[in-house]
Amino acid sequence: MSLEVKTVQPNVIVNPTVSKPESKLKGFLSQLLMNKAATVGAFIIIIYILLAVFAPLIAPYSPYEIDLENKMMPPSSDHWMGTDDKGRDILSRILYGSRLSMGVGFAAVLFGAFIGIIFGLVAGYYGRWVDTVIMRIMDVMLAFPGILLALAIIAALGPSLINVTIAVGAFSVPLFARIVRGSTLEVKRLEYIDAIRSLGANDFTIIFKHIFPNILSPIIVQATLRLATAILSAAGLSFLGLGAQPPSPEWGTMLSSGRDFLFSAPFIALFPGIAISILVLGFNIFGDGLRDAFDPRMKK
């Protein structure tokens, strides 16, 4: 091998392998669509979102309209899902309730992710004692059972849907912090981070412009899976009477009020329960599909 060849010096390289930037996104989408479960999950989520957005147009009745003459009617052509103990149309209440449940879920995950991502980035990037302090606090938070932590937060702040959001978000924080820290450690070692440091970029630029965009995929997967848990936890807290208060058509609250009539009118509790289950299932299988699509080892 001799490198003393001076003749090889093409000054301009012709035509680098051409492919458009969006081809990456296309590849990702086709990967996702190949996963049947993920497609079904996405389909469920989209339907729920559409129903929530267009609830006032779709719902046959007002969710609050009391009609004591028609109370506890089983499903019929007038009331597809029957009526509850105060004669309110269950279908309409579920449609409106989807806004509350999904709103709480999204808000809680956004809140938890925001704080968790910042903690994780800082811990992973700075390392040493900063890392130790932040991650030990996260360990303490993880050591609490989620519902107990939420109970403590609500006991301190008082029962309301906003406080449920805060509580559910709070116990997502350590999960995001862990995942983000791990990915940050991985990306931090890459040479382009050294390159940008040797150009003199400050820590803020490095963290948010160069590390954060490159660790988005695990965050998105985690957020999708957390949405399912958050919706379930929020409904659970409302069921315990700590979240949305009657007459609000929150699904957990509806379940709770249907509990007393489980034998005489099971449909009062059944339909909100089904609504929660299908939505949570949708987010879970969609999250799993996303994870597979993002994972380069799954690519053929």
Partner: protein
């Protein structure tokens, strides 16, 4: 070449880089990997000094310590009259425009989510070398220096081949008008034919801009092609440092001799005296006492096991640390 009369651009004195090793016990004393242990050398303006040695000898760590990508344990690095290891964050940031680096892995050294234009623009913006209005012009100029077509600007790194990516990395380093570039195994990841192209490009740019290179490599053929002087490292120490010709013609240290005899020769019928070293490189956590090379040296004497050799000048500009000479 009269090295003495030339201007020293960078002077490294007693540079040490120890990395703590994690111990399982809370109470055991901490161990250290002595990656770079008391390394001193000078770098003259406009020259190419190569650091060679096998994996783990501390050559890359030396480069990273000079740039303060890892904070060195002790020592001094003088650049234009200042010890850069003592500079505060702000002054260091300013100075970084003068010292640039080209990395080994062209696939890891570019942010996959930035276009070439963004990568180069950011470099210029951080160091504020070019006013905003003139940046586009400068971008095209940079691309022509490194031999990439202007269309490359809007492309992402994954759309380029390894050699082309390395050119982007070189353009990024050039974007801030550096004086010294540390090439950390800059061609090791490339095909041989591409290696030659990149090496020639580096040489051309060096002439064009009067750059100084600190060229870190394990590939002696590459080193022979590009360097003015060569520094050989073994286990965190400098064992020999000399003008390229002097070193390749007559090396004094047994380790250098072994390294040089490992260069492949194109003629298979040629009979060569190969010096084959026995054993593995010792652990840098607990390096051998005396001369670090004595465990593998074919000419080992009793003295080598106890007394550490100093770096001595045996010929003009040819320094060796060995008791044999």
């Amino acid at each position: 070449m009269q090295a003495q009369t030339r201007k020293v651009i960078l002077q490294v004195d007693h540079l040490k880089q120890y990395f703590p090793v994690k111990t399982n016990s809370l109470f055991k004393p901490k161990n250290y990997v002595k990656a770079v242990d008391d390394v001193s050398f000078k770098l003259y303006e406009g020259e190419t000094l190569s650091i060679v040695g096998e994996s783990g000898c501390g050559k890359s760590t030396t480069g990273r310590a000079i740039l303060r990508l890892d904070e060195p344990t002790s020592g001094k690095v003088h650049y234009s009259g200042k010890n850069i290891l003592e500079l505060n964050k702000r002054d260091m940031r300013k100075l970084r425009g003068d010292l640039q680096v080209i990395f080994q892995d062209p696939f890891a050294s570019l942010n996959p989510r930035q276009t070439v234009k963004q990568i180069l623009n950011e470099a210029m913006a951080i160091q504020e070398v070019v006013p905003k209005k003139e940046r586009l012009e400068r971008l095209l100029e940079l691309l022509s220096y490194v031999g990439l077509p202007p269309e490359s600007l809007s492309r992402y790194p994954h759309e380029f081949s390894g050699g082309q990516r390395q050119r982007i990395g070189i353009a990024r380093a050039l974007a801030v008008d550096p004086r010294l570039i540390i090439c950390d195994e800059a061609v090791s990841a490339l095909d041989v034919s591409i290696q030659a192209q990149i090496l020639n490009l580096l040489k051309k740019l060096q002439r064009q801009f009067g750059l100084t290179f600190l060229f870190i490599s394990h590939d002696l053929s590459v080193v022979r092609h590009i360097s003015d002087r060569v520094m050989v490292m073994y286990l965190g120490k400098v064992v020999e440092i000399a003008e390229k010709k002097s070193l390749f013609d007559q090396s004094f240290h047994p380790y250098t001799q072994a390294l040089l005899s490992s260069i492949p020769v194109p003629n298979p019928k040629l009979n060569r005296d190969r010096v084959i070293l026995k054993g593995d490189i010792p652990s840098p956590i607990d390096p051998p006492k005396g001369c670090r090379f004595h465990t593998r040296c074919p000419f080992v004497m009793d003295r080598c096991k106890t007394e550490e050799p100093e770096l001595r000048e045996v010929k003009a500009n040819h320094f060796v640390s060995c008791h044999l000479v």
